[in-house]
């Protein structure tokens, strides 16, 4: 009897939370097909907001900026973050690495606003022009930590008996790296890179602070449209944006689950 009750309570809350989470998204998608200019009342099905959207050059421009920034941030943060994870794991007991760990952990806790304002203040004091470069620098900074921790998690699950087994079978360091370590860590590195890419694409707050005139990214564009533009276009833009990130995320998730399964099986032993 008690079991049934607590399950009922938790089920009730769970259903409530699911509705709470999906109601706004469902509304948004519906409204993007609404003919009315200001939303609210439904005045008929229409695709005209999608047409307007695809003819808007500034949106296309912002999309290009977003992809460029995300690509650069991903490349650099993946390299830096993977190296960091490797050192953190290889020299676990060194005091330097304890500080290093703290340094990598801290950006995850600090709110975006603080990271944005502090970078802005530094760029202004150094008289650096704000633009795509400063945005990329900032994005690399917050992506490094996420990449490092994703790869580190992989390294911690790594079964080091495999290295011994390879040594036992006659392999030297180079061969072990190429044949054993790299293929087993690659899914972790790819996961880290994908995370960096999506985080960079998603970022609004930091970009808002450190961006300049020529560096409008899609989220910044969405923000200014939300503040000033006609809402109906944003509906359409949101749905397109959402469809793209959803697809990327689903593909990535499926890919990751497949790739990670064999080594997970080993880790469970």
């Amino acid at each position: 009897m008690t079991k049934v009750n607590s399950r009922f309570t938790s089920l009730f809350v769970t259903i409530f939370v699911i509705i709470f989470m999906y109601l706004p998204i469902v509304m948004l998608v519906t409204m993007s097909f609404n003919a009315s200019r200001y939303g609210g009342k439904w005045t008929g099905f229409s695709l005209k907001w999608y047409e307007t959207l695809f003819r808007d050059h500034s949106v296309i421009n912002a999309t290009m900026n977003t992809l460029f920034v995300a690509l650069m941030a991903t490349i650099f943060s993946t390299i830096i973050g993977t190296l960091a994870a490797w050192v953190l794991n290889a020299y676990k007991n060194s005091n330097v690495q304890r500080l290093h760990y703290g340094l990598i952990y801290a950006p995850l806790v600090v709110p975006d606003v603080l990271m944005g304002i502090s970078l802005l203040l530094m760029f202004v004091s150094l008289k650096v022009d704000l633009g795509l470069t400063t945005v990329i620098l900032a994005h690399i900074t917050f992506c490094v930590s996420y990449v490092a921790f994703t790869v580190l998690a992989r390294l911690q699950d790594f079964d080091f008996a495999l290295i011994q087994a390879a040594q036992d079978l006659g392999a030297g360091s180079f061969r072990i790296f190429i044949k054993i370590i790299l293929p087993l860590l690659l899914p972790g590195i790819i996961a880290g890179a994908m995370m960096a890419f999506t985080l960079s694409m998603d970022d609004f707050v930091v970009t808002f602070f450190v961006g300049g005139p020529g560096s409008t990214t899609l989220p910044v564009k969405v923000y200014s449209m939300m503040k000033h533009g006609p809402p109906a276009i944003i509906n359409a833009l949101s749905v397109v944006f959402m469809a793209v990130t959803f697809t990327v995320a689903i593909i990535g998730n499926v890919l990751l689950r497949k790739k990670s399964s064999p080594s997970r099986a080993v880790a469970q032993h």
Partner: protein
């Protein structure tokens, strides 16, 4: 010099003396086991032989060559790891082929060797599977094949059956024996399971607290343990404290077993009059009689306290003064005087003086 020799090996982990002066020899083609409770240092010895751990003292020789300080990839030794350590991102074939490919053997030749190995381990159809998709017993055999394909002079097996369930373990024991007969490689086998060691090994080294207590064939170790630890770790036994009162002749001695009286016993360790000894008698060496047996058997009188029926045999605990003697009797109608004793029965426990092992007393 023997095929493989380990001389005065030492290893410390911090303050812990985990391997204390271990020495033994292994003959070519032998199955040699290191047997002991967990933490006794047996795995550490194996890891030093494999090159995964550096000894703090002592030497290791393989086939007239000192290998003490060679790295693992330079030794003609391969290891079967406890949890198999199969490469999860490689197929069964690629796992087995890893060694030959590493040493630069031509691909056509490698393929042939792998086929041969798959034949030996009888898993021809599993070559293209991934390690995640095969059973524990199969993984075990693949780990063995992956090691044996390199034609090692010595194969190290680190608790290879520990991760398997009982049925599979018994089957794999036979498989291991068969594979050994087929390839003839020298095996060093680490286990904490005396059953495995007894059934597989030519010789066994029993270890305790970093020291090798005794080396011998399974029968020697069971029938003639050298120390109290070996006697109690291998099989069950009853211990009695006593003192040598008289050397009857060169072979037999009279022992005063505390509280029981004087009995003759076989004395192969040359204990002298006045020496304090521990007497070890295994449960199956005792017989229970309902009336007093003849003079040629040592015996004492007691009362049956506990009976545990175990199918093939029955285990009795007989109270004799301060002792609870553990006796195992087979159910067998050839035995004379066959009447099953029951709780509270007054019985005689008898043993032959040759079935007694005298050990150094800890006191």
């Amino acid at each position: 010099m023997d095929f493989f020799e380990l001389g005065n090996l030492q290893k410390y982990f911090g303050e812990n003396h985990v391997v204390d002066d271990a020495s033994f020899c292994v003959k070519r083609g032998e199955v040699f086991s290191l047997l002991g409770p967990s933490g006794c240092g047996k795995t550490t010895i194996l890891r030093m032989i494999g090159g995964f751990e550096e000894p703090d003292g002592g030497k290791i020789f393989l086939d007239n060559e000192e290998i003490t300080n060679l790295p693992p990839n330079k030794r003609k030794i391969n290891t079967v790891f406890q949890n198999y350590a199969l490469f999860p991102h490689m197929s069964v074939r690629d796992n087995i082929a890893f060694g030959p490919r590493t040493s630069g053997i031509k691909e056509a030749e490698v393929e042939k060797m792998v086929d041969e190995m798959l034949e030996i381990i009888r898993l021809k159809d599993l070559g293209d599977r991934m390690p995640a998709n095969i059973s524990g017993g199969q993984k075990q055999r693949i780990a063995i094949a992956r090691a044996l394909i390199n034609k090692p002079k010595l194969l190290l097996l680190d608790e290879p059956l520990a991760a398997l369930d009982l049925k599979l373990r018994q089957y794999m024991l036979l498989e291991l024996d068969r594979i050994h007969d087929e390839v003839g490689t020298t095996f060093i086998y680490v286990t904490h399971d005396q059953g495995e060691a007894m059934s597989l090994s030519d010789r066994i080294a029993v270890m305790n607290n970093g020291k090798i207590e005794q080396i011998g064939t399974p029968a020697e170790i069971y029938e003639n343990p050298k120390t109290r630890f070996v006697a109690s770790f291998i099989g069950d036994t009853n211990f009695f404290e006593g003192t040598v009162t008289e050397n009857i002749d060169r072979e037999y001695t009279k022992i005063d077993m505390v509280g029981l009286g004087e009995y003759p016993a076989y004395n192969d360790k040359k204990f002298e009059k006045g020496d304090r000894v521990t007497v070890s008698i295994r449960p199956e060496k005792f017989s229970i009689f309902m009336k007093e047996p003849g003079d040629n058997l040592n015996n004492c009188e007691g009362v049956v306290e506990d009976i545990v029926y175990q199918g093939a045999q029955t285990r009795y605990w007989v109270r004799v003064k301060d002792y609870r003697i553990n006796v195992v009797m087979q159910h067998n109608r050839c035995s004379l005087d066959f009447k099953q004793p029951t709780w509270g029965d007054k019985v005689w426990v008898a043993w032959h003086r040759d079935d007694v092992t005298l050990l150094e007393s800890p006191h």
